[in-house]
Subunit: 307 residues, 2 copies
Amino acid sequence: MRDDNLARRVLKGDRRAVSMAITKVENRDEGAAQLMESIGKKTGNAFILGITGPPGTGKSTLVDKLISEYRKTKKMKVGVVAVDPTSPITGGALLGDRIRMVKHTLDAGVFIRSMASRGWAGGLSGAVSEVIQIMDASGIDVIIIETVGIGQSDIEIMNIAHAVMVVTMPGLGDEIQVSKGGLMEIGDVYVVNKSDLPGADGMVINLLGMVHDMKGRSPPVLKVSALTSEGIDTLFSSVEGLRKKLQSPEGKAMRLRSAKGMILELAKRRLIDELEDRAESRTSSLVEMVANHELSYEEAASRLVKG
Amino acid sequence: MRDDNLARRVLKGDRRAVSMAITKVENRDEGAAQLMESIGKKTGNAFILGITGPPGTGKSTLVDKLISEYRKTKKMKVGVVAVDPTSPITGGALLGDRIRMVKHTLDAGVFIRSMASRGWAGGLSGAVSEVIQIMDASGIDVIIIETVGIGQSDIEIMNIAHAVMVVTMPGLGDEIQVSKGGLMEIGDVYVVNKSDLPGADGMVINLLGMVHDMKGRSPPVLKVSALTSEGIDTLFSSVEGLRKKLQSPEGKAMRLRSAKGMILELAKRRLIDELEDRAESRTSSLVEMVANHELSYEEAASRLVKG
């Protein structure tokens, strides 16, 4: 397909074109930059919700519930970008949890894409910013980015979102699991999932204390059980509140924050890509010189940075 | 203290000077670059061992045991760089596990430093490369870098090491926990720690199958119980074997690998630092332009990259 045709079809919301565009960008195929240039101008309509939290807290199940609610009550189109840890060598992402969302793939109003987080640059995922732009331009109303909140980098992908939901659960070695990764600072809404398990109330109280300690912040802390459906309604209202806030005058700060996150993510990825391209050809001679004490590590790094 | 005096004292192995030099470099104080230039030339004597694995597998306890063995049987000086996840906003590292190593801090032949892994750039830790160089130049014989193997970035710090030990334990949700993060590809020795727990033998068999599936690799898989001391001797022999290999003609590949890891880590950190400095002053105008659709995200990122 010609690129301008592909862009046009993306803008019309053609699912297959969206899929092809994402693959093109992920593979850095020829024409990807031009495609993004055409598509980028048509973005800015979607609400981008980030969802993160430790492994096993049931994030994917909550994503599944949110998709259902948005489809059923709002008839909105939903996109999901699921960022998974990957192997630096084999390059594959492991997608076990995603199986829960599979049922939605038969729904033409839902678009799910899994991405592997990348190597060295830590969590600078393949092309999260571009995938979001493509989904946004294709007319998707709500885009959910899900990351496993274990590395800093996973958390920092959340800077691309307009609003962030942090998911936790009772019995996670207490609050330390959540505080450790910096999750306390980034949430617009906190969820204690699996609230049918013992310790949920204590966890809510702890979380309230911790998030409200951060000055000027008072995000809600909600008890939710995907199993019994307790709290799903409240959770959905809370997310809807954030989406409506984005469309209000107050939403400007949310937009600026997301745009800043997007620009920085793109810029960093580009820098690291350029460096890695140079490193391919240049490192071995620099390494030899360092090994022979003809050059310091710092000087070698400088030369590599300068290209 | 004047910088050339500080460098001289580091080279003499003065512990306080080592500590000051590390702080200087971490804080990017004036003179840090010059200090590294003086010190960098005197490196290349230490054996750098990376230790990584999922949280809770007892890595710090094994580090503790290795320190004791090196001190007791070899009288060697040991340095430890413990890289911890940190909060992107508060910037603090949480050092719970390190408490086990505290007893060694009274030993003048042991130098332990905890470092926080950094924000955006994901696991590009504050100054791991520099800290290792300072320790090396100060006459430390064995430098252990310990990271929590949950993010890619933590694993990639392992590229700086001459050899890598991957620590796991029975009952970790089977092998998936280890395979997920790419740990299967990077180990020169694998440890099933807490082998007093049920399932240790099965885990060893699984691991053997998995690591030997990678072509041309046959790293040992050792059962160790820090509790009963089972396998500690074998583990130590295995580590010593790696250290001796570094000093043999075969060690050249290990040195080149580590040098490459150091250079890349320094180069990437430098690029990201420069970008973040520019971002401080430049992002807000770029963000406004993107928000007003005067500029695409890609173009904004390009401008930020160009500075």
